[in-house]
Symmetry: C2
Subunit: 401 residues, 2 copies
């Protein structure tokens, strides 16, 4: 019997308790042991709750109880969650989390502590909700040199874009609808501005390329510049606009990473990923491209990923998992503005003028005297200069896949 | 340093040697140890090969060499591969394989031997080539009760169907083209008739539902009954015809499994899976649906999955992986003919007659005086009776997803 404690009884934390109870038999079979939820730490009171006797408010009780072998951190953020995670590891307990912000910000340090103490710090639920992605990258693709990882990493913004594309809703109306349906928080900034996707691509890139990529290095553009007009022009030309996080190994010791809206072909790998779903494409030198798809968030999917990590801890008390990466920072980071790609521009000029100015331009649309077109391959500096010269209203990257 | 032997130096076996060499540094980093390829067993001679000194013809040398800790079985089939695998396990060596026929036929017995000897018998490469699927099911989804698993499991038949759908090639021409491109063997029977897909869905269902499903129990229909006319009618109505393997938990102690062509919506999860690619959808009670996509075959993708298993063996000499299932057979198998679904029928009757005879019929096409339509939900017995009564030329299942 393995004793578990949960820190933070919010959506994911309470989901973990629910999955542990609902699927108890399957979990016991897979782990070859049972689990006992001994403590739930939360600042709030839960009077009358079936687990009432397990709620505590003093973290030190968990820290000092040698019975507790695995701690689930579902507090979120980088405040007490950081402090408690460190103290759990130092107290000899495995830690499992869905806290993407903490892993993206302090993952390298926490993994190093776990390694030194021969413990596990696992975070399958931090990216893609319940979609298996952390373990497949670190284990199944372990024989590959990975070259690129990209995907639709934020369910809220993908839902908003899907509503704009499929139903012609404005960004504002679609965000409101996402909030009404419980897909977006009262303050949707982290989703809509791309910060959530940035944290996730940092985790994926750190794991794939072996060096910590910190979120504050990653140029991040959300979906607030995506207009219904662009969505419609792209659609008619065979594209959808999707918010992607993307990480690339640009040389043996440099990695690049960014978040931005992209035009992708409707029939591309990510073209059918709609609503709150997420999908991640990984490209390796032996495997080619593989894709992982599923619900990117939600109480039970995310909780089931946390519980899978709890099971994995129980199987690896003696032989810890080899999930870690080295220190990173600016010295290993290549500016994504130097990456060459094709670009979508919408400009007030007529197409004759565009075609004269821009070599390799492919006109997608010419309405109201303006023109939307794709450029040839160029880096961000050149594309932005062109956009300035032509007084472009919109500028987005194109991703071929 | 871990010593490895390869049994069978065909496409996958030689790919394993190539990946071990090409990605040596990445592999060493991930495994926290290096690997030495000590022997290659093959009945053929490879004069002048860079590995010439490692080739042997006597299996007993490997069996009796205590240095060899991990054996790669890429012989294929259920003959010597079965004998050698057993003897390796009994000699205390982990075994890693891409041999789907052996796992589907004798997996339960071989896993039991591995378990008794505290060894690993791993087969990530047996399904979906390099796509991570075995490990995600057994680990990442370990907190879920799995209800269903289905997918496009055979690259050759998917390539043939893609050519029929996209380019209007006949089945025969498309098969010939697949052979010319190296996607189909000289004798394409196992691919085209669905036997390869049947072995794979047996492995996936055994792993997902915990009881061995043997291939000889699984009703298997290939793509030879798919005509260009059906492909075209389906396309115009928003569907593609794809060969699917499908396994379902129909009750607590019964599993059903079959292979057959299905109509699926173009914009469904599997709708964009073209050419030789594979994709597998898994449905669990917490996770909802997740999908895994990639190249379903090919030398390097498959070899990279084998090497990932070799790495995993090296990490788990002390704590073996919990991949196994119980004995199964007819007592746990439910006849898939009892499953209800909608059906596609193409009949010589006019649509008036069809609509009179069949309640809930949805007419897709009426050419040449005949009619193609979808039925309401019914089991296979009822659908076949209807097809007989209406002298149907074609009958296929519809899968909603």
């Amino acid at each position: 019997m393995v004793h578990v404690a949960i820190l933070g009884f919010g959506t994911v934390g309470s989901g973990v308790a629910e999955v542990l109870e609902t699927n108890e038999e399957r979990i016991r079979r897979n782990a070859a042991t049972g689990f006992e939820l001994k403590y739930i730490l939360d600042v709030r009171d839960f009077p009358g709750h079936p687990y009432a006797s397990r709620f505590i408010k003093d973290f030190a009780i968990i820290e000092q109880d040698p019975d507790v072998r695995v701690v689930v951190e579902t507090i979120g953020g980088t405040g007490v969650a950081y402090d408690f995670t460190k103290r759990c590891l130092l107290a000899g307990k495995d830690v499992v989390t869905s806290n993407k912000e903490l892993v993206a910000t302090h993952g390298c340090e926490l993994l190093a502590i776990a390694k030194e103490k021969n413990l596990n710090y696992l975070f399958e639920a931090s990216v893609g909700g319940g979609i298996p992605i952390i373990r497949p990258i670190s284990q199944c693709l372990a024989a590959n040199e990975l070259d690129e990882i990209y995907g639709i990493l934020n369910g809220t913004s993908n839902y908003v874009l899907t509503q704009m594309i499929a139903n012609g809703l404005s960004l504002e109306t679609a965000v409101k609808q996402a909030q009404d349906n419980g897909y977006a928080e009262a303050d949707p900034t982290a989703d809509i501005e791309g910060h959530d996707a940035a944290r996730k691509i940092c985790i994926l890139a750190s794991l794939s390329f072996g060096r910590h990529i910190y979120p504050d290095l990653v140029p991040t553009e959300g979906i607030t510049n995506v207009t219904l007009e662009d969505v419609s022009i792209a659609w008619n030309a065979g594209y959808k606009i999707k918010l992607l996080g993307r990480g690339l190994r640009v040389s043996n010791d440099k990695v690049s990473c960014y978040v931005a809206p992209h035009l992708i072909r409707k029939e591309s790998l990510l073209g059918n990923v709609e609503d709150v779903n997420n999908a991640i494409v990984v490209r390796g030198n032996a495997i080619g491209s593989v894709m992982f798809y599923g619900a990117g968030a939600g109480k039970l999917p995310t909780a089931s990923a946390v519980v899978a990590d709890i099971i994995d801890c129980a199987k690896h008390f003696k032989a810890r998992k080899y999930i870690d990466w080295e220190e990173g920072g600016p010295s290993v980071f290549a500016d994504p503005d130097t990456l060459k790609t094709r670009w979508y521009l919408r400009v007030p000029a007529g197409s004759g003028e565009v075609l004269e100015t821009v070599s390799d331009a492919e006109v997608l649309d010419e309405k109201n005297g303006g023109t939307a077109f794709l450029t040839g391959e160029m880096d961000a500096k050149a594309a932005r200069a062109l956009a300035g010269k032509l007084s472009a209203a919109s500028i987005f990257r194109l991703l071929e896949d």
